[in-house]
């Protein structure tokens, strides 16, 4: 057990692409935590998907041993944070486990949107900030100017800030010195009852759930009966230890100020949720650490196997993913058009995309997903209220008294020059302006109240493109508000395609209906007959297009040598028909279906 004064718990925060993962790699290397031969690019991001997209999805933590210039060996706990608004809560919990944060700023680009947003998040948690100017090897680097910018905008003293190149390794050791010097050691609360903050948990098929904790008070060791304060669930601790980059290092006891892991034969991560507090049944703490909230899915969509035979495989895959992702929910549903599948709940659209991609990539499944939806509260004329997250359960409009939709309190941080564009966007998304605060000369905080269903599709992307990536965005679920909603149905050749129905604000119905009709027209391959495409509200058609009939599909030459080829072509065409979704008399290929669901590309 290390003395508290030699422990430093810190995170690294940065705008995207400012070199967070590369710096983390160098720190690992420099402390010889990872032998060079074990070094993989960006070791902390160990999911394929993360490495490919350059984003960190789940938090990770690692313990480094560093011999400082003062001759002492320090125990540095680096806690990595996810970088997307969908996982904001997890970022917040990771930061709550630290006393300090290394703030990386790109020496050529300077302070950017997320530099600021992350800084505020860190300051919210009373973290000591260690500014680091990175990428000094770039030709365009201007460390002095950027240091000045950090001082002016954020108000951090940068006179001592290390100016480094994480890529070449230049000056990186100074970062470690700064951490030792600036980040305060944790308090010694060893004699209090145990309180440990869960900042992450992962499922391991041998050990069960591995709970990553920051011990705030007290101690925990193997054999203790641990209790989750939010759920009350109790488990016998099997093992405690530290996270090393490439292995788990077992230890006897974890005590206050330390960061480590606990295993206790926990079956699913839902039993050890991020933000919960671990205490002991023998000597329970009175009060949990602040800030726990159950993360509820906010976005729902149907997920169907492209091939109906993969239904069981999809269920298995979802169950496995859920072991590791308490925020993912799913239940079986059926669709007339898509067959058997699952209604899944996600934190947000990125979460949805990540799950979808993992299902396709790690589990080799071909999927069709329906339009994402939020939970609407529909008040019926008979006084009842129903919650709808699936358009196919939308009640008959004649029985509806009024409807409510969820809203969010959104804060958008951006340079003042983009305020106009951002306001236009929020207006377009039915936002209600709440206020605007100048954080400093170069940064405003625009506060809007927005309907959740307006931001679940593509809001973040639209925001980024209108502000050239300068804006950052954060939101919190707010209340439900009365809203004028309608359900749009898509009809192909007169048949309703249930999987394409969705709920939308009545003001937007016409515009979207037209877009969908066009998209369908462009994406349904011409068939032997004309196919009318209609978008309807109830029985009223509000947009229509026609897929023209195919005129030519013929093999002109069929002589001696062509017969076998023609026979194979015939077989292939019959086979191809099986890959089509049969909607009444109309066959729609997978690709067309996907294109329609991804309506918000433009």
């Amino acid at each position: 057990m290390a003395k508290k004064e030699f422990i430093r718990n810190f995170s690294i925060i940065a705008h995207i692409d400012h070199g967070k993962s590369t710096l983390a790699d160098r720190l690992l290397e420099l402390t010889e935590t990872v032998a060079k031969r074990d070094m993989q690019e960006q070791l902390l991001d160990n999911m394929d998907l993360e490495r490919e997209r350059g984003i960190t999805i789940k938090a990770h933590a690692v313990k480094l041993d560093y011999k400082a210039l003062d001759g002492n060996i320090y125990n540095l706990n680096l806690i990595d944070t996810p970088g997307h608004v969908d996982f904001n809560y997890e970022v917040s919990r990771s930061l709550a486990a630290c006393e300090g944060a290394v703030l990386i700023v790109d020496a050529s680009q300077g302070v950017e949107a997320q530099t600021l947003a992350n800084t505020y998040l860190a300051l919210d948690h009373d973290l000591e900030l260690v500014p680091v100017i990175n990428k000094i090897d770039l030709p365009a680097a201007d460390p002095e100017r950027v240091a000045k910018e950090v001082e002016d905008i954020i108000g951090l003293d940068c006179s001592e800030a290390p100016k480094v190149s994480a890529k070449t390794g230049e000056n990186v050791e100074k970062v470690l010195e700064s951490i030792v010097k600036l980040v305060p050691p944790p308090e010694n609360n060893d004699d209090k009852p145990l309180r440990a903050l869960v900042f992450d948990s992962v499922y391991d098929s041998y050990k069960g759930v591995i709970v990553y904790v920051r011990v705030v008070d007290g101690q925990i060791k193997a054999g203790d009966t641990m209790r989750m304060m939010a759920t009350g669930a109790e488990f016998t601790v099997v093992e405690v230890g530290y996270m090393r980059p490439t292995f788990m290092e077992k230890t006897d006891v974890l005590s206050s100020g330390e960061v480590g892991y606990i295993t206790a034969s926990i079956k699913t991560v839902g039993d050890a949720r991020v933000g919960d507090t671990v205490t002991t049944a023998e000597n329970p703490a009175d009060e949990a650490l602040p800030g726990y909230r159950k993360v509820n899915p906010m976005v729902f969509c149907g997920v169907y196997p492209a091939d109906g035979a993969d239904y069981e495989a999809l269920r298995d895959a979802l169950e496995k993913l859920q072991l590791n992702d308490a925020a993912l929910s799913f239940e079986p549903e059926t669709s007339g058009a898509l067959g058997f599948g699952f209604r899944c709940g996600f934190l947000g659209l990125l979460h949805l995309e990540i799950i979808q991609e993992r299902l396709e990539r790690e589990y080799n499944l071909d999927l069709v997903t329906t339009v994402p939806s939020v939970i609407y509260k529909i008040h019926l004329t008979n006084g009842e209220m129903v919650e709808i997250d699936n358009p196919s359960h939308y009640p008959d409009p004649a029985t509806i008294d009024y409807a409510e939709e969820p809203t969010v309190e959104a804060h958008i941080y951006a340079p003042p020059s983009y305020v106009g564009q951002i306001m236009d966007l929020c207006q377009d998304r039915r936002g209600v302006y709440v206020g605007m605060t100048y954080l400093d000369a170069d940064r405003v905080d625009l506060h809007y109240k927005l309907p959740l269903n307006e931001i679940i599709y593509d809001f973040f992307d639209a925001l980024k493109s209108r502000t050239r990536g300068y804006a950052s965005f954060d939101y919190e679920l707010a209340d439900y508000q009365r809203s004028s909603l309608v359900k749009l149905d898509v009809l192909l050749n007169g048949d309703t395609i249930d999987a394409l129905s969705f709920i939308i604000h009545s003001d937007k119905a016409y515009g979207r209906a037209r877009k969908i009709a066009e998209k369908l027209k462009d994406n349904i391959p011409r068939q032997m007959f004309e196919i009318p495409v209609q978008i309807a509200v109830g029985s009223k058609v509000i947009a229509r297009e026609t897929v023209k009939a195919m005129r030519k599909d013929v093999l002109a030459k069929c002589y001696g040598g062509d017969i076998t080829r023609k026979k194979k072509l015939l077989e292939k065409q019959k086979e191809g028909k099986k890959r089509m979704r049969q909607f009444g008399t109309v066959e729609v290929p997978q690709e067309a279906f996907m294109a329609v669901l991804k309506l918000d590309d433009e």
Partner: protein, 357 residues
């Protein structure tokens, strides 16, 4: 008989052909002759058609061609149809007289288009005047059964340029015309350049096809297969064998055969053929689906009587039922005699066959 030689390669064609010098051609003719006698002498029935295609058979010269015909003659029935495909360029009346003397009674020539600009785009070296002269030479040589190939859907083709081409054929009085919709074959120049070719779109090509059918029939040249038209009695007896799912022997690299219920072919390799390579099996042939697929290429269609003769049962009820659906849409006709595709049905025949068979 496949003659795998061409003077030059047309940019849309993926038939097997190479350029070769005279000695190779002579060697090839000898190999072919040997193969003909080897294959045919074991059979006790006679062939009633001989088709020398390519490639460009005429590049062999009249002497070589006659050698091939002569070697096949003992195995042919007295009234056999003997066709030679010719490239019209530089073929004299004498050339055709010699062929006619040895029994050739049908000549098939690639016109493709009578519009010289379109011809150049297709890589045709000669102008339409040359084709006209060649047709006149065939006729003076006493061969009246002439077929011209026409292509539909070629770069920049319009209704007007097509009608010029069709008028050209009609004015020459040829009794048979094959009109093929251009298909972009992988590996050809056209396939690789398709986006810069100004090809008419599918709707336009469908219209060109209908225009062809109507124009020719108005002039007494009746459609009998998806891409083939003839005056009564001039239908290609040889090609009808393919569509009636009858047997045939094909010799030469890339030539296919259907004999004794088996389909097989020689690989696309001249040297292998010259070295007496064995054909490669292509599975069984002649089942009902194959028969129906081929017969539905004919205007006559699939008939109950013939189906019963060949398979012992009429057209299955399932197929009749599905055909009624397409008949309703104007793509098929269905009656007690059998089922057949209409012109609009021919245009969609791939999709329709995938539905009904």
């Amino acid at each position: 008989m496949h003659i795998p030689f061409c003077r030059s390669k047309c940019p849309y064609c993926d038939f097997y052909s190479v350029r070769a010098d005279e000695s190779v051609k002579t060697q090839y003719v000898n190999t072919l002759k040997n193969r003909i006698s080897a294959e045919m002498s074991t059979s006790d029935c006679k062939a009633d058609t001989l088709y020398i295609g390519g490639g460009t058979p005429s590049v062999l010269g009249s002497e070589n061609l006659c050698e091939i015909v002569k070697s096949a003659s003992p195995f042919l029935s007295p009234n056999a149809e003997i066709t030679v495909e010719c490239n019209p360029f530089g073929l004299s009346e004498d050339f055709f007289k010699i062929l006619a003397f040895y029994g050739v009674n049908r000549i098939s020539m690639g016109l493709q288009s009578a519009n010289d600009r379109e011809r150049r785009a297709l890589g045709r070296l000669s102008d339409s005047e040359t084709v006209k002269q060649a047709v006149l030479n065939v006729q003076s040589a006493g061969i009246s059964n002439i077929s011209l190939d026409v292509m539909l859907g070629i770069p920049r083709q319009t209704e007007k340029s097509l009608s010029e081409t069709l008028d050209f054929c009609l004015s020459l009085g040829v009794p048979h015309i094959s009109a093929y919709i251009l298909k972009l074959e992988e590996g050809t120049v056209f396939y690789n350049r398709q986006n810069s070719l100004s090809l008419p779109d599918d709707d336009a090509v469908a219209d060109l096809y209908l225009q062809t059918c109507e124009t020719l029939e108005r002039n007494g040249i009746m459609q009998y297969e998806i891409s083939n038209f003839a005056k009564c009695g001039y239908e290609s007896r040889h090609n009808l064998k393919y569509w009636n799912c009858e047997e045939y022997l094909g010799l030469g690299p890339a030539a296919h055969s259907f004999l004794g219920g088996k389909r097989f072919y020689f690989e696309r390799d001249l040297n292998a053929f010259l070295n007496d390579s064995n054909p490669i099996s292509d599975g069984d042939g002649g089942d009902f689906t194959e028969y129906a697929m081929l017969r539905l290429r004919l205007t006559k269609g699939l008939l109950n009587s013939e189906t019963e003769n060949r398979f012992g049962h009429k057209i299955p009820e399932e197929i009749i039922k599905k055909s009624a659906f397409f008949a309703d849409k104007g793509f098929m006709e269905s009656d007690e005699r059998g089922i057949r595709l209409t012109r609009n049905g021919f245009l969609l025949s791939n999709s329709i066959l995938a539905e009904i068979l």
